[in-house]
Amino acid sequence: MAMAMAVVSFPSLLNKTTLSSSSSSLFTPTFLTPKPSSLLTKSSPNSKRSLVVSSMEAGIGVMGSKLGMMSFFEADGTVVPVTVVGFREGNIVTQVKTLATDGYDAVQIGYRRVRDKKLTKPETGHLQKAGVIPLRHLQEFRLTNVEGFETNQKLVFDEIFKEGDLVDVAGTTIGKGFQGGIKRHHFKRGQMTHGSKSHRALGSIGAGTTPGRVYKGKKMPGRMGGTKTKIRKLKIVKVDKDLNVVMIKGALPGKPGNLLRITPAKIVGVNIPKN
């Protein structure tokens, strides 16, 4: 059973007829009819690993570092709040993954040069294979077409994006620690006076004997922040080639120095098919 689960491979996922059976075998490992599993093993004799792939990007992106926020005056005097993003040495293609070799098309990019002592031996070996300088961060951008990308190719921001483009920016938010429901989920506060004893406490967390438990995913106090988030459809206000920075309208996750992943905005019907 376990083996049949593991042999789900990308070619079989592509095949529409076996899609339902293969996906069910992915997510419900306990019961599996023998027929589709034998089909799967037949269809994919060589690749024996399950795939975990990210969603498709609208285009190649780059990584950057948050520098801070400022105001930007447009030509007509309108003030725009912008976040300045800088680029350290990096944004080099470290690996090109293809459907034939890896089961999906993606471009792996490295960012932020470090001393080679700072990396582990497997990391160094992976980069040496591509002949790339030691880089701290490696991220993949899954694309429909990876033609035109080769390892050790340098990606320049202003060749990919221009002023006025919309981008999605992903990064880690500032960690807030253990927070109550009011700050974490925007719950309402109780009365502070008039004899009320419920000030910032949670209200009811569910019904009584039926269902007799608290539902999964109930919003409660807990760790807040420090998670990955993506802020979508932000406008590039200015690209400064001399300073090697870019100004993006609005706030971006994290504190100055935070690693950001900038990709073209995914807009359904424009660069993402509607189905």
């Binding site: 400022m70 105001s71 930007f72 005056f73 030509a75 007509d76 005097g77 003030v79």
Partner: protein, 97 residues
């Protein structure tokens, strides 16, 4: 970036402001600098003067492209960084010709 003169609290300044809504006409604002908020490119000054018998305070971002000129007319000796006390004083102290 347009050069901006050194502005201090207590300066009496004349600001030529272009108003895009009003067919790009220049309007002139004269008054005393009550305070200055330093914030890099978003540095602002607060100008006070009496207009039609009423005290008016306007905040200008001094690096805005709509401000065409800032001229320091004179300087009044002040002993505060923020001249908020002018609001409670006689209108004579906020009137400029």
């Amino acid at each position: 970036m347009r050069p901006v003169p050194e502005l201090r609290t207590g300066d009496i300044v004349e600001i030529k402001l272009e108003v895009p809504e009003n067919r790009r006409r220049l309007s002139i604002h004269k008054g005393i600098v009550m305070s200055r908020q330093n914030a890099g490119i978003h540095t602002t000054i607060r100008i006070r003067r009496i207009i039609a018998g009423i005290g008016v305070e306007i905040v200008f971002p001094i690096y805005s492209p709509n401000i065409k000129e800032i001229k320091v007319v004179s300087h009044r000796k002040v002993r505060r960084a923020r001249l908020y006390y002018l609001r409670d004083k006689l209108p004579r102290l906020s009137t400029f010709k």
